[in-house]
Amino acid sequence: MAMEILYESALDIAKWIKGREVSALKVTDAFLDRIEKVEPSVRAFINLYGEHARQRAKLIDEGIAKGEQVGPLAGVPIAIKDVLSTRGFKTTCGSAMLEDFVPVYDATAVERARAAGTIMLGKANMDEFAMGSSTENSFFGATSNPWDLERVPGGSSGGSAAAVSAGEAPWALGSDTGGSIRQPAALCGIVGMKPTYGLVSRYGLVAFASSLDQVGPLTLNVRDCAALLGAIAGHDKCDSTSIEEPARDYLGALSVDIKGMKVAIVKELSSEGIDPAVLERIRATIDILEKLGVSCDEVSLPSFENGLSSYYLIAPAEASSNLARFDGVRYGYRAGGEFNDIWEMYDATRAEGFGPEVKRRIMLGTYALSAGYYDEYYAKAQKIRTLIVRDYGRAFDDYDLLVSPTSPTTAFKLGEKMDDPLTMYLSDICTIPVNLAGIPALSLPCGLAGGLPVGFQIMGPPLSEQKILNVAYALEQEIGFDPRPAGLEKM
């Protein structure tokens, strides 16, 4: 039974459960069995809630038997990145600071995913406070890439991506501040989407950089991505940066008819510093687009040369402010011992509670915002951000969508970049401009290079999710990528 459920489309699983071809309990058990087998090697989860999931599955089966409304995705398990608040279940953000933190409310995205009927299996591993590109910055230890256990799954949503790739969950929720959904999706050979800023509520998403953070889906295929996005998107009055946009039926509107569309590859994201083997896959994918009747061009967006530098000033600046809340008073870790005053307690709590990368970014952000450097760094970076928004705007006057690699390389070795933050930051070079401009983008697996997955990034103007999904859907049919990692499959 198990192997007939694993790696099947989440939407098919939902259909089988609704049609009573298989029970929700049997589905949940199939994933829990898989977790038991592969989790010691992959380590995708921080906390697992198997018994809770089984209870919920039983309730859903009872509901279906009685003909009750159970939600369109009823009984389909899901992994939730541990940065999204879950009422009554620990939400650690991969940090010692929140090791025992139990939220008293649900994130809107979590609430909507549950209202649709999904069953949370556990909270997925991540770089501490979503700061990182490899999931090695987790206080709870690194996650391995299911394609090669010696390699990173990407980050910061590495646990979410690895769980889906390893067959431990049919899909997952993640968050993306500079590529944290798309880059791990690319490195693990699955689909990952960062929606338009404001399309999915950030309520209950623990803040990293508020003007950049966005919640989105990680899935095995494009149809599942459209469905999960549709389930979590839409206006939320609890998030003041939520767009007044009704939820759309992305799945219902999914179409492979993309003939006549105009697409361009971004020169600055597809030349210097990109692994030639990755570029080869990207070019092959563009050839497929042309075969499908899409006109493909190249466009130069000069401001992107400064995207990474601007991002690594803006994001840490916002983080240094957001993470000021962790002071050992209202929630989270507090340093032990006697203190002469509250300042000593703050300093010790933050020194012991945060890991090295989080401290580094707080330091960087505080520096960029400090007197004497504000104009030179922070204000300047925000002006560069304007130039990036304008470059995208100009390109979208001429083209429907833009494309690039999602990541400059395939998955790198665990430990390889840990001593050199700047090299690690370069992993985000292709994904960062999207967050700075607040536009949507998706990473689609487009083949293997050296036995490791390569991601094809599709970017569009604000609220062009449907167009992006349609192009990804059309490409997916042609590429026929098999998301099952060869080595792990046998386990």
């Binding site: 008293v104 690594y312 989270g332 509250i342 703050y346 580094r360 002006k383 933050p421």
Partner: protein, 94 residues
């Protein structure tokens, strides 16, 4: 852009982080590297360019100021490392 140990100590104080001598030296080196990389943006012509702090054209998102139920006190303090009688406790402030 080389920053000094004194700069690191000043920023650590602003950020409320106690750093070991080893951390200070590591951060001095790493922050210098990142800021050196960021120096290129100083050369970009941004004359007359407005800064972008947010990509949505949203201003003043208001709602009615209505009385709503709030979280029970027990839940508010349930995650506090030190609480008593529905209040957070901290070391002496003054």
């Amino acid at each position: 852009m080389a920053i000094s140990i004194e700069d690191v100590e000043h920023v650590a104080k602003l950020a409320r982080l106690r750093l070991s001598d080893e951390e200070k030296e590591t951060f001095r080196r790493q922050l210098s590297d990142v800021l050196e990389h960021a120096r290129v943006i100083g050369e970009v012509d941004t004359e007359g360019v407005e800064p972008t702090s947010h990509t949505l054209p949203l201003v003043n998102v208001f709602r009615e100021d209505e009385v709503r139920p709030s979280l029970p006190v027990e839940e508010v303090v349930q995650n506090a490392p030190w609480a008593e009688g529905g209040a957070f406790k901290v070391p002496r402030i003054i």
